[in-house]
């Protein structure tokens, strides 16, 4: 496997609360890795450590190493802003920029980083919306507000926005938890397609979703990595008793 992320002894805190304990795992390139576990187990914190979003919360702290393409993103002299351009993120609740049109939402990352050329922007907007399977639905309404779309469309808009800056990785934090089953199915198909060219790490509390979309699954419990393997392996033949009990719905 080609390793995209090599996480080594990662610990994270909110103030004095120790939320991630000595996580070590490798994440494969151009595959989908799901992170599952009960509420409050540190799933979200783990992916927020992968693009240095954890540290923007006041009082939050990280130790350990996260090698991205072999380079530790936590070493001195690494600019978190550059890290975040390479590693995009989609959030739990769709959060399009409210004052901007659909076009501007998708173009925001490029525009605010100084791209002015109209042709480049047009092409990037179209490419990203097509990748997010949203182009056909909005191509005639690009100047409308992003907030005018339905919840599922807004989430795909947010995916397009993240893709427009051409990241290598897409981190998704429970991207379907606010969506209905049809919108969820669309996004799951999209995730499978994206895995051809992108590394996707998805947090989900929906085990079926993890089974449907992911190649690898990591099970987190109380901030510790309990088990990490091929998704098929985890679901069919879990090695750890805790994993099995969680997957059979005994707790969580």
């Amino acid at each position: 496997m080609v390793v995209k992320f090599d996480i080594q002894n990662l610990n994270a805190w909110f103030g004095s609360k120790h939320v991630l304990k000595n996580i070590s795992m490798k994440i494969e390139e151009e595959a989908v890795t799901a992170i599952i576990g009960p509420s409050g187990c540190g799933k979200t914190t783990l992916i927020r450590c992968l693009n240095r979003m954890h540290e923007i919360t006041p009082g939050a702290r990280v130790s350990g190493r996260v090698l991205f393409n072999g380079v530790n993103i936590y070493s001195n002299g690494v600019d978190p802003v550059i890290v975040r351009r390479k590693i995009g993120m989609v959030f739990q609740k769709p959060n399009p920029f409210p004052m901007m049109s659909i076009y501007d939402n998708v173009a925001a990352g490029l525009k605010l980083n100084g791209v002015r050329n109209r042709e480049i922007l047009d092409a990037a907007v179209r490419r990203s919306l097509e990748l997010a399977n949203l182009w056909d639905e909005v191509k005639n309404d690009l100047s409308k507000s992003g907030a005018s779309l339905s919840g599922g469309q807004q989430q795909r808009l947010c995916i397009a926005r993240a893709l427009a800056v051409e990241p290598e990785v897409l981190l998704m934090d429970e991207p379907c938890s606010a969506l209905d089953p049809i919108a969820t199915a669309k996004i799951e198909t999209l995730i499978r397609n994206l895995a051809e060219n992108y590394t996707v790490v998805i947090v989900t509390h929906n085990m079926q979703q993890a089974a449907r979309v992911s190649d690898y699954t990591a099970f987190l419990y109380l901030g510790e990595l309990i088990e990490y393997d091929l998704t098929k392996q985890i679901f069919e033949n879990p090695k750890h008793e805790l994993t099995e009990r969680y997957l059979t719905g005994e707790f969580g």
């Binding site: 979003m53 995009g88 920029f97 004052m99 925001a108 993240a162 800056v165």
Partner: protein, 276 residues
């Protein structure tokens, strides 16, 4: 069933009381408006808007110099008060969890509670004493009054922008400062502009600090180190004068002031209309 009737009765009674309260609140507003319009309207004609303050005994005259002076004073206060207020507001909202920001927030509260006459005396001591009664001193006093208003409304407006919007921008690899001035400020633009326009409306009607730091002036604008005429002071000085002509001008000035404030409120509404 009886209990239901009792509830309906209670509902009607409370509605009635609410309407009573509403009308009692509107009575002073409409009686002021009626009085000012009725008396001020007769003062208004073309001459009123193009001529300066008349001398004693002169017939006619107008408030053109006072409109000019008021606009110049506001124009001078604006570039001092707005940037300082805006930036303080951004600081408090975006970087606001330190000891410094707690102190800044507290001091702004204190500043906004200081009577405007005291700020006028402050401007007098700081500026009037060195360069004389002047439009500069008045503008300074008004700017000081503006700062806490603009700061507070900016802070409140920015705090209403959800954290998830900031995170979305930061996750796109947009630096923090750029996130603030583009995504966050544009999300709060309407409320901030409203706050600024309302603070202008407020200082346009201030009389006490203007009187102390600049004083009354009957002529056209004559330089930054000289006083300028002022609508609010017109009302004060003219209304107390024994000359009928001046008293009429006082009502006219009051009407112009009210129209100015009304115009600003309408402009606020128009500017802040939903775009989508």
């Amino acid at each position: 069933m009886d209990y239901y009737k009792f509830r309906v009765f209670k509902n009607r009674l409370m509605q009635f009381l609410v309407y009573i309260a509403l009308f009692s609140a509107l009575i002073p507003l409409f009686s002021i408006l009626y009085e000012v319009v009725a008396r001020g309207f007769s003062a208004i004609n073309l001459e009123f808007f193009i001529k300066p303050t008349p001398t004693v005994g002169e017939v006619g005259g107008g408030v053109a110099n006072a409109v000019q002076g008021t606009l110049i004073t506001i124009g001078l206060a604006f570039p001092i008060g707005v940037p300082i207020g805006l930036m303080s507001g951004i600081f408090l909202s975006e970087y606001g969890e330190s000891k410094l920001s707690v102190a800044v927030r507290f001091l702004h509260d204190v500043l906004s509670g200081i009577p405007s006459i005291v700020i006028g005396v402050f401007a007098y001591a700081l500026i009037t004493l060195s360069i004389g009664f002047s439009v500069t001193a008045a503008a300074f006093a008004l700017a000081v009054i503006m700062i806490p208003m603009v700061t507070r409304t900016t802070e409140e407006a920015l705090k209403l922008v959800p954290m998830s919007i900031r995170e979305a921008a930061i996750a796109l690899g947009i630096p923090r400062w750029k996130t603030t001035i583009t995504v966050v400020l544009s999300g709060a633009k309407r409320s901030i502009v409203t706050g600024i326009l309302l603070s202008i409306a407020r200082i346009a009607g201030e009389s006490a600090p203007v009187l102390v730091s600049m004083g009354f002036w009957r002529w056209w604008f004559a330089g930054l180190n000289r006083p300028a005429a002022n609508l609010a002071l017109n009302v004060f000085i003219f209304a107390m004068s024994p000359f009928e002509n001046w008293v009429t001008l006082a009502w006219g000035s009051a009407l112009v002031l009210i129209l100015l404030v009304l115009g600003i409120s309408v402009a606020t509404r128009v500017f802040t209309r939903e775009r989508y």
